[in-house]
């Protein structure tokens, strides 16, 4: 099977169209950024992020009233009964999310005063409680401690499986729980209204440091890539590669803004991966150009060389992009809520990387080449407008 039989596309011809399309997308992204701003995640904006799973109905109105400055949205599917609460930056450092969760827990579980909440607290506390009550009459020896720890761990393990207990039977039905223990559980514990799936606090200091680190990581790795390509190939390609990286990062950011995704640490990881990936395609093209230059003695313009190399490597470009895309598509659909932003950015980055390799990189390289040889910006010279890759060039290469 073969996708392309002797491809002979003229990529250089369409380079200005591509530049315009890219600029439009980036421009729209910039407009989005300046009008609506970027949706900074807790990693960078600071503040608190809390995910709660509720036992029965979700008290959305109550929470919205209580935290007027918070963004509250559904987490996952509706039947998960989970909410994501985002609270803005505090001026002071401290355990913000912890304090909020603690307060919510007291407010929402008035019936539970003095009792142990099976949906909220962990196995250590439960083990302590059981050992104190000692329903199985094990005394105070170390074995008794192990016995109750084991029971407590099993109960909390069950809760992890279910996400939250909705009835006491789910907890008391756990293997190894004696009738006496069930009595203690019924007497001294209760099922609170929510379980904490996730809580994060990022203080002002850490937040701003992470922002800087992310910024520099992207800038420096782009420069490192450019330098590598400059050393391996030549200066023109190095510049083109850096511009191509910036292009891909900007396009991905634009889509991040269009899709209103959260800009988080994971997204930065995705952007850095794109930096590496987008250069990959470019390297393959350059390698081919270099090889062809060695073989074909007769003068060909850079544009002709690029066109030839891109056609020769086209099926590889599409195949690789396609296979990575397939994988990412699966991650996007089945990978779950936590890495959704990450998968989106990678997917867009891969598409943009392929597109920029085929259309943007040659545009930059050719423009730079013309500029540096004439020392003036090119005005779309007609000579390279239609550099046909004829079958002669192909034959020459083969010999």
């Amino acid at each position: 099977m073969q996708i392309f039989k002797d491809p002979n596309y003229d990529f250089i011809k369409y380079r200005w169209h591509a530049v315009i399309v890219s600029l439009l997308i980036i421009g729209a992204g910039a407009a989005m950024f300046f009008t609506k701003g970027i949706n900074l995640g807790v990693d960078f904006a600071g503040g608190a992020s809390i995910i709660l799973k509720f036992r029965d109905e979700v008290p959305l109105a109550r929470l919205r009233a209580e935290f007027s400055d918070a963004t509250i949205q559904q987490f996952g599917r509706a039947q998960d009964r989970s909410l994501l609460i985002r609270l803005p930056q505090q001026k002071r450092e401290g355990d913000y999310a912890g304090a909020i969760v603690e307060k919510l827990h007291t407010d929402m579980n008035p019936e539970g005063a003095g009792k142990h909440d099976l949906n909220y607290q962990g196995s250590d506390k439960l083990a302590g409680l059981l050992q104190e009550a000692d329903p199985d009459a094990r005394g105070t020896n170390p074995n008794a401690e192990l016995h109750y720890k084991d029971i407590a761990r099993k109960i909390i393990e069950k809760r992890s499986q279910l996400g939250i207990f909705t009835s006491m039977q789910q907890a008391t039905g756990v293997e190894g729980v004696s009738t006496a223990t069930v009595r203690v559980l019924n007497e001294r514990t209760f099922l609170g209204r929510f379980n904490v799936l996730n809580q994060e606090t990022v203080g002002p200091q850490v937040g701003s440091q992470l922002q800087q680190k992310a910024f520099w990581a992207i800038i420096l790795s782009s420069i490192a890539m450019g330098a590598y390509i400059w050393l391996r190939f030549d200066f023109v390609f190095g510049v083109a590669a850096i511009i191509c990286i910036i292009h891909d990062v900007l396009i991905s950011m634009a889509f991040l803004l269009f899709l209103r995704l959260e800009f988080s640490l994971n997204v930065v990881a995705a952007l850095l991966t794109i930096v590496g990936y987008s250069v990959n395609d470019t390297v393959v093209t350059y390698d081919r150009v270099r090889e062809n230059k060695r073989k074909i003695k007769k003068g060909m313009s850079l544009a002709e060389h690029l066109n030839l190399a891109m056609n020769q490597t086209l099926s590889r470009t599409i195949l690789t992009a396609g296979s990575v895309f397939l994988v990412l598509l699966a991650m996007l659909i089945f990978g779950g809520e936590v890495i959704r932003g990450f998968s989106w950015i990678l997917t867009i980055g891969v598409i943009s990387g392929t597109y920029s390799t085929l259309l943007i990189v040659p545009a930059v390289a050719v423009a730079w080449d013309h500029w540096s040889s004439r020392n003036s910006p090119p005005a779309v010279p007609s000579r390279i407008d239609t550099p046909r890759v004829d079958s002669q060039a192909r034959k020459r290469k083969a010999s």
Binding site: M1, E93, G94, A97, V101, Q121, G122, S123, D124, K125, G128, Q131, E157, R159, S160, L162, G163, I164, N195, N198, Q199, E200, T201, G203, Q205, V206, A217, S221, A224, Y228, L265, N266, V268, L272, T273, G276, Y277, V279, N280, V283, D287, R288, E291, R316, G322, S323, V324, L326, V327, L328, L329, A330, M331, L332, F334, G335, G336, V338, I339, S343
Partner: protein
């Protein structure tokens, strides 16, 4: 042979055994747990050093029968000592030279300025952070958390990662409690307000007392509010003199904390209790009076701390006292807690996504390259095994982005194969034999594959440098995967080709 050996070694590494039920370590985002970044308030330690220096200057002055200077702290690292008018400063400078070598002394209009030397101050800061790390480690170990990470970061920070902890609030309390335990004499109390407590102290004693809060309790021992006690500033015995602490049952079966003293602490405690029979001794924890029992007789070795504790509180407090106090308080800068259920969901979804992605990938390769596709798929599988094996071997942490990283690496590993195969096809189109095409395909694609991998490795290194937790996990899987991919594309895939096409020159039969 090499390949078989690699296969066996790495397969063994990732098979769970009884001794090693979790061969690949899961990150907090998959296992659940806590990550904390704490700032150690090192300025407290500096201030303490300055306070002690002020005390010893005054003490030395009085033992040398000099007029006692008035001392005042200027900031965290310096203080000023003002002798009475007309007294020359020379004698005090001599004391400073003899007893306060860590201070620089300069003369000024208002007396002598003492400033903690900067190298000593920074050493003190480092020591404070190290001591805090040690104290936290002892506490975490006592809690029985497996594979904790407790490490200093930057000048004054500590990063704490506790996988598998399911009770974040309690663990945070235990870590953050400074646990400065002090035994101090009660000078008056208790009173309903701090002002009343202060007013009740005789005027000449006011400079020597602190007013500290305590719980008001009813007859049943239940907490009903706050009251205030005046206690002496002098700290004759502190938590450092404690050898051990454990939970005991009190008179009515309530939990209390029994402690025993070190050989150095016991005589100090004996002297204190012996000289003050009939008076109240305040047991102060983190500037709060937990109890103030009356001293009935001299105590030397053991004692009991009573207070309105629950069983859990008592055992946590005993644990904290055993593991020693923190040298300074901690402030939370960053906190991330992942509940075990979210981790479980994440794994299920991450694995589902990966498996489906992998199946799609394999199907696409087989469809496109047919016979040679099998070859690529085998290389891919080996790549996966090497990747997981290396992670187990280096004890690298698998995180959620790491799972995505694995699958992405596989996508890129396919790229190596694609580069080679496309090259082989090209060579064949030019009419070469199968063997010559394979030969040429591999050697020509080599430089390209190295280039593409190197660029990605550069970005993975930046990721590793920049990233925290999950992202580092991603970078690690990417790095290992890229290495494995070069190996599998050039050795494994090549070898399979060689085996199949060794004997014959079946140019027409090469399935690619």
């Amino acid at each position: 042979m090499l390949i078989v050996a690699v296969l066996v070694v790495f397969t063994v590494a990732i098979i769970p055994t009884v001794n090693n039920p979790e061969p690949i370590r899961r990150g907090l985002d998959l296992k659940g747990g806590i990550r904390l970044v704490m700032r150690v308030n090192v300025n407290e330690a500096l201030r303490l050093e300055v306070d002690q220096a002020m005390n010893s200057l005054r003490m030395q002055a009085s033992t040398q029968k000099l007029p006692v200077p008035v001392t005042r702290r200027l900031n965290d690292t310096s203080f000023v000592a003002t002798p009475p008018a007309g007294v020359p400063t020379d004698a005090y400078e001599k004391i400073a030279g003899d007893f306060l070598p860590s201070f620089e002394v300069t003369r000024a209009a208002d007396g002598l300025h003492f400033r903690l030397k900067s190298n000593i101050a920074s050493q003190l800061q480092r020591d404070t952070v190290d001591q805090a790390v040690e104290a936290i480690r002892r506490r975490v170990d006592a809690l029985g958390v497996t594979e904790p990470i407790i490490a200093p970061e930057a000048a004054d920070r500590i990063v704490i990662q506790l996988p598998g902890v399911d009770d974040p609030a309690r663990v945070k309390d235990i870590i953050k409690t400074t646990a400065q335990l002090q035994f101090r004499m009660v000078e008056g109390g208790s009173f309903a307000s701090a002002q009343q407590a202060f007013d009740a102290v005789p005027a000449n004693l006011r400079g020597q007392v602190d007013i500290l809060p305590t719980n008001r309790e009813d007859e049943m021992g239940r907490v009903t509010g706050v009251e205030y006690v005046a206690v002496n500033k002098n700290i004759p015995v502190s938590g450092r003199d404690l050898k051990n602490a454990r939970v005991q049952k009190g008179r009515v079966g309530e939990p209390v904390i029994g402690f025993s003293l070190t050989p150095e602490g016991a005589p100090k405690f004996g002297a204190l209790t012996g000289a003050n029979v009939g008076r109240q001794l305040a047991i102060v924890l983190d500037n709060k009076v937990v109890s103030a029992p009356r001293i009935n007789s001299q105590i030397t070795n053991d004692g009991v701390i009573e207070g309105s504790f629950t069983q859990q509180q008592a055992s946590d407090l005993a644990l904290i006292l055993r593991s020693g106090a923190l040298p300074a308080s901690l402030t939370t800068l960053e906190e991330r807690t992942v509940g075990p259920s979210l981790g479980r969901d994440s794994i299920r979804q991450g694995v589902l996504g990966s498996v489906i992605g992998f199946i799609l990938l394999v199907a696409a390769i087989l469809l496109y390259y047919k016979g040679a596709g099998v070859n690529a798929v085998l290389a891919l599988l080996l790549n996966l095994i090497i990747l997981l094996g290396m992670m187990a071997y280096f004890k690298a942490t698998l995180t959620l982005p790491g799972i995505a990283g694995i699958i992405l690496t596989l996508g890129m590993a396919v790229d190596s194969n694609v580069l080679v195969f496309e090259r082989i096809r090209e060579e064949m189109r030019e009419g070469k034999t199968a063997r010559a095409s394979i030969e040429q395909g591999f050697s020509r694609a080599f430089a390209t594959v190295i280039d593409t991998h190197l660029t990605t490795i550069i970005s993975a290194l930046f990721l590793f440098q920049f990233g925290t937790g999950p992202i580092q996990g991603f970078a690690v899987t990417l790095l290992i995967g890229l290495g494995a991919s070069v190996f599998t594309a050039f050795f494994v895939s090549r070898m399979i080709f060689d085996i199949v096409y060794k004997s014959t020159d079946r140019a027409k039969e090469l399935s690619i």
